[in-house]
């Protein structure tokens, strides 16, 4: 029988009583699709070596500047609340992750993805694809112009809805820092009900996924602004092994 939101809430509450770290629990039954897709053996701890001490290099030849603006990819203007999402990508030691790839994807303002598997009967927006890319600046900064995505239903349980979010894909200084995550918006009433968000059982850790409204990012007569800084795990290389932009452009 299909679970109700009340069933899921009880499971979320029970899981929150178990000690958990700041990362999501991979074995998290309230998110039904995880049941057969999480490893049962503990991860094997090793010291990274060889290519694991380096991340792939991306550069401006990979990404055009206008790919950071999700509102100009079609002939018309997308419907929705125009926003800027900006921040810095830092490693666990606070160093900026410069000249590195950031990829984002999201639903449109009505909560519909431009994807054949999304059957939610909300309208597509012919002027919105929902895909962006950029290369971080020397200070690790990124900036996307987009529209605020809507919440949308999914089939985890009866009447399941995801809080509005933007998917982020990030690279660091070394392979071990690779991260795919989701950015949320402040004050979303669906947080408490969402097993994907609640799979991070440490409240302080999951709040790191919530952007803050920043009036200094808001621009007059144009768009509101959100700030979200993204801290990756620490690099395993010493700071002496620098990633200079010259290296990345010329393949040292």
């Amino acid at each position: 029988m299909e679970s109700s939101q009340a069933d899921i809430n009880r499971e979320i509450e029970a899981a929150a009583q178990q000690p958990g770290g700041p990362q999501p629990k991979l074995d998290y039954a309230p998110y039904r699709s995880s049941i057969l897709r999480h490893p049962k053996q503990p991860a094997h701890l090793i010291d990274p070596e060889s290519v694991e001490l380096w991340a792939p290099a991306f550069g401006h030849r990979d990404v055009a500047d206008d790919e950071a603006d999700l509102t100009i990819q079609h002939a018309g203007t997308p419907i929705g609340e125009r926003i800027v999402v900006t921040g810095r990508v830092l490693d666990g030691d606070g160093r900026p992750v410069a000249n590195q790839l950031v990829e984002v994807w999201q639903a449109n303002a009505a909560g519909r993805y431009r994807h054949q598997r999304d059957q939610h009967p909300a309208p597509h927006d012919p002027n919105f694809t929902g895909v962006g890319r950029c290369i971080t600046g020397p200070d690790g900064s990124y900036r996307f112009q987009t529209i605020k995505p809507g919440p949308y239903p999914w089939r985890n349980h009866l009447n399941a809805w995801r809080p509005a979010h933007i998917h982020f894909s990030l690279f660091g200084h070394d392979f071990t820092q690779r991260l795919v995550t989701q950015m949320y918006f402040p004050g979303d009433p669906l947080f408490a009900l969402d097993p994907i968000y609640q799979s991070i059982t440490d409240p302080k850790a999951r709040e790191l996924l919530i952007a803050t409204y920043d009036h200094d990012v808001t621009t007059p007569e144009w768009s509101t602004g959100y700030r979200w800084d993204i801290v990756l795990t620490g690099t395993h290389r010493t700071p002496l092994d620098t990633d200079s932009p010259e290296d990345e452009e010329h393949g040292a």
Partner: protein, 187 residues
């Protein structure tokens, strides 16, 4: 500083992560091309049709490359990085070159990252070349893994390419890796 937690790549990642020739580190028709492929399966033995696999590797001479161009492939430059999505049978494939050892007397491997709907955070593993039993027998990682699980980290050389199957759970579960700085961020 506290690391941002991961979240699942979800079911709609094709929208944001797919791009042309993402799995072609070299063109498939290149005489040098090697096919690295396999199936991703779940704890019920069923295919995982919505997984993303990324590989990161040295070139055949063992050089770790710092070369852009993985998103806009020019058909010539080898960048050492690629991405593949699984098909409805859970199958993925790359066209690439075989990695060399980055240091003398070390077993060469592909570094592999796994994402999927239903997988709340990414997984790391390695796919070793199968050819040199002495190097494999002396490898730091393989030595530290239970003997009956080592084979999950080693590709098989088949007529249709190097085969690396990924089992997320259960019998023959792939050995997944964590690293000191990740563990610290989980502590």
């Amino acid at each position: 500083m506290s690391a941002v937690p991961g979240q699942t790549v979800g079911p709609f990642f094709h929208l944001g992560l797919e791009y042309p020739r993402m799995n072609e580190l070299v063109p498939p028709a290149s005489p040098r091309a090697v096919r690295l492929h396999g199936r991703v399966t779940d704890g019920g033995g069923d295919p995982v049709p919505d997984a993303v696999i990324e590989i990161w590797q040295a070139d055949p001479q063992g050089a770790v490359l710092r070369t852009p161009g993985s998103l806009r492939r020019d058909g010539w430059t080898f960048t050492g990085w690629g991405r593949a999505a699984t098909d409805p049978d859970g199958h993925y494939q790359f066209f690439t070159l075989e990695p060399g050892a980055t240091e003398p007397d070390r077993a060469p491997f592909f570094a592999v990252t796994v994402f999927a709907r239903g997988l709340l955070d990414r997984l790391f593993t390695r796919a070793y070349l199968p050819d040199d039993p002495d190097l494999l027998a002396n490898d730091t990682l393989l030595e530290s893994v239970a003997p009956d699980r080592r084979a999950t980290l080693i590709t098989r050389r088949e007529p249709d390419g190097l085969v690396f199957d990924i089992r997320l759970q259960g019998d023959g579960e792939t050995v997944f890796l964590t690293y000191p700085r990740l563990r610290d961020s989980w502590a």
